[in-house]
């Protein structure tokens, strides 16, 4: 059992650190889901891609550099520590790409991944529907077979990035007679295609971080079915596992946040808030170490299961507590949302979504109790 980084990883870390020190914009970019911020974030992603830093764990041929999970984690640590921009490509790189690696054809990978790595295509997720929030299996949007492809119709909602993104992925009911998890198919589709209407939704912070997508007989070629028709649920669940688990929330966010919180506390070291600052820092360490344990297990052939839910419960609550504490330390300025004080308010608003999205924490607790602790399933 050791925590030492080997020479190759340290070398990689230095490369990343140097690159970020040179390239991270001095002033934060405007929000990535704003009209102004979106193209700037795409441009940032292109710069990352040129340095082969946009998707470090991918194979070289798709734009990555075959980095290990440990290197990925080191990359993320450096990325957040440097205060680099939010990843507008995250839906694609973290969610869709994993699914493509697991279920995609060579043709699909060749076609989709390099464009994704270079941010030529920015992807939105399209999981939820108005009547299917946390209950993903309640999908009603439908796919009808047609010549050479499918026609998609229906409505998706809470689609992150969809206000500005190029393409989207999600489940559609391809067998109208099937119920719940059966008869679903996983599609990639173009948000600019005929029949698609996108209605941005303003989040708490006023930025349209997600959108509704209305689809009216949108043609999608057979090539854009991921996995076999009717197998969508199984295909999607690998992605959902990723969303809830390892790849979406790297320890870097919390490590960097905790360090900033400690600095903030130093500026006004109120002992009455000290314990909360300490617990946030300890929590971030715990999250990082837990992730190192997961990486070690995966490196030895282990797999991720219900611990994705354990994981999500921890980071989502840590994130809220950490930002709560920061706002309390800011005193009367804690309510300000502008560039002053930097980032805490938007970080707090973002943190508040953590316990909701990718399966509410209530659902995650059920999963943990039933699948990890073996408690009896109950339908409430």
């Amino acid at each position: 059992m050791d925590l030492d980084l080997d020479a190759k990883t340290l070398e990689f870390r230095d490369e990343v650190r140097d690159w970020l020190a040179e390239h991270v914009p001095r002033d934060p970019l405007p929000p990535m889901d704003s009209d102004e911020g979106f193209p700037l974030h795409r441009e940032w992603e292109r710069g990352l891609a040129e340095a082969r830093l946009s998707a470090v764990t991918w194979p070289y041929e798709y734009g990555g550099r075959d980095a290990s999970l440990l290197e990925w984690l080191v990359f993320e640590d450096e990325y957040y520590a440097a205060g680099a921009p939010s990843r507008v490509s995250a839906n694609g790189i973290a969610l869709l790409a994993s699914t493509l690696f697991a279920f995609g054809t060579d043709e699909q990978r060749d076609r989709v991944l390099p464009r994704m790595a270079r941010a030529d295509d920015i992807w939105a997720q399209a999981w939820s529907e108005p009547e299917a929030g946390s209950d993903l299996a309640a999908v009603r949007s439908r796919a009808t077979k047609t010549d050479g492809g499918w026609l998609l119709s229906g409505q998706k909602t809470w689609s992150s990035r969809a206000s500005h993104a190029d393409r989207a992925f999600g489940l559609f009911r391809s067998d109208p007679g099937a119920q719940r998890h059966r008869g679903l198919t996983y599609f990639m589709f173009d948000l600019r295609a005929d029949g698609v209407t996108v209605r941005p939704i303003q989040q708490l912070d006023g930025v349209p971080g997600f959108a509704e997508i209305f689809l009216d007989d949108v043609f999608v070629p057979d090539d854009d079915v991921l996995g076999a028709p009717g197998e969508g649920w199984r295909v999607a669940m690998t992605t959902a596992g990723n969303e809830r688990g390892l790849t979406l929330r790297s320890p870097g966010r919390f490590m960097a946040g905790a360090e900033r919180l400690v600095d903030l506390w130093h500026a006004n070291p109120d002992p009455r808030v000290a314990d909360r600052v300490t617990d946030a820092w300890i929590g971030a360490q715990a999250y990082r170490l837990y992730t190192l344990g997961t990486i070690s297990r995966l490196a030895e052939g282990g797999t991720l299961g219900a611990e994705s839910s354990v994981n999500k419960l921890f980071w989502s609550e840590l994130d809220v507590a950490l930002h709560d504490t920061a706002l309390d330390l800011l005193g009367a300025d804690g309510e300000l949302a502008g560039p002053r004080p930097p980032g805490w308010q938007s970080g707090h608003l973002f943190a508040l979504s953590g316990p909701i999205y990718a399966g509410t924490n209530e659902i995650q607790r059920n999963v943990v109790a039933e699948r990890v602790l073996g408690l009896p399933r109950g339908d409430r």
Partner: protein
């Protein structure tokens, strides 16, 4: 000892509630946030007609009204105009007051007559740059002291804090009402969300917190004691924030949008948590006063 609202006080609450229920507060707040004050000013005019501007001498009535103003998430410099300005001897219609360090910025200084308390002095305020609050309906402005107009009293700050406690209770109650209604109607996994025990328990915890914070606010209104005011504010702000978190959680993604009225109340609670003194400051004031027993 009679620790209950009188019939008249309950009627006052009911009349404010009735008036506010007839307005589309979400639209009022959205337009206020965009700098279009007309519907808001119209609403405040109607509130003035039923007497809410004349309660500065009646702290119990003030907290009764502010609970309703909070419950409906009414925008505007209400604490400042109805309670703080009168306590500072400022007369007139709509006023706003900064009281640094606890209230460093002036709320809605573009629509209300701005003042600033500078040490012992009450001054007209020279209005500076606007600032962005996390609550878009709270339009904040930097201010500097201008012309001297009178002598300040500590009571002005305390009555502001008292009214804010009541406003927070009301905000919490409004959030709880919305959440209870939503989970009764919203279905997931084939049944109303409100049947799930986790949802029930979130909302029950909110109710408990609010029910036990309210008597502290009422008692603080009766005694006017600074310790009681801070105790009320600590409990009220914690209860309101618990309500905001629970309401967001049981709403799910829809509560995370500006399109939903719930979110306006949530953002107001979020902003008010640190306005009128931090929780830490208020707790310190309570415990310090207990040292001197």
């Amino acid at each position: 000892m009679r620790f209950a609202l009188s019939t008249e006080q309950k009627e006052l609450a009911a009349s404010v509630h009735a008036l506010l229920s007839s307005a589309d507060l979400q639209a009022v707040a959205a337009r206020w946030a965009a700098g279009d004050h007309e519907p808001g000013l119209d609403l405040l005019g109607r509130l003035a007609k039923i007497g809410v501007t004349e309660l500065a001498e009646f702290p119990v009535e003030l907290v009764v009204v502010f609970e309703e103003l909070g419950r409906h998430a009414v925008p505007g410099p209400l604490i400042e105009s109805y309670a703080v300005a009168p306590a500072l001897g400022i007369t007139g219609d709509l006023a706003t007051v900064a009281l640094p360090p606890h209230v460093p910025y002036a709320l809605d200084a573009d629509v209300a007559a701005p003042y600033v308390v500078d040490g012992d002095a009450v001054c007209r305020a020279e209005v500076g740059a606007p600032l962005t609050s996390v609550d878009p309906a709270r339009r904040l402005f930097e201010v500097r002291p201008g012309e001297w107009v009178g002598t300040a009293s500590d009571e002005a700050l305390d009555v502001g804090m008292l009214c804010q406690s009541a406003q927070l209770i009301g905000l919490g109650r409004g959030l709880l009402d919305r959440a209870s209604e939503y989970v009764t109607q919203r279905r997931q996994f084939g049944r109303p969300v409100g049947e799930f025990q986790a949802v029930k328990h979130h909302l029950a915890n909110v109710l408990v917190a609010l029910e036990f914070a309210r008597p502290l606010v009422h008692a603080a209104a009766v005694t006017g004691d600074t310790r009681d005011i801070s105790a009320a504010r600590v409990a009220a702000a914690d209860a309101a924030w618990l309500a905001a978190r629970a309401a967001l959680q049981v709403h799910g993604a829809i509560g995370y949008t500006r399109e939903h009225a719930m979110s306006w109340a949530l953002l107001k609670v979020k902003a008010l948590r640190s306005a009128w003194g931090t929780q830490t400051w208020h707790r310190r004031r309570v415990l310090t006063s207990l040292r001197s027993r």
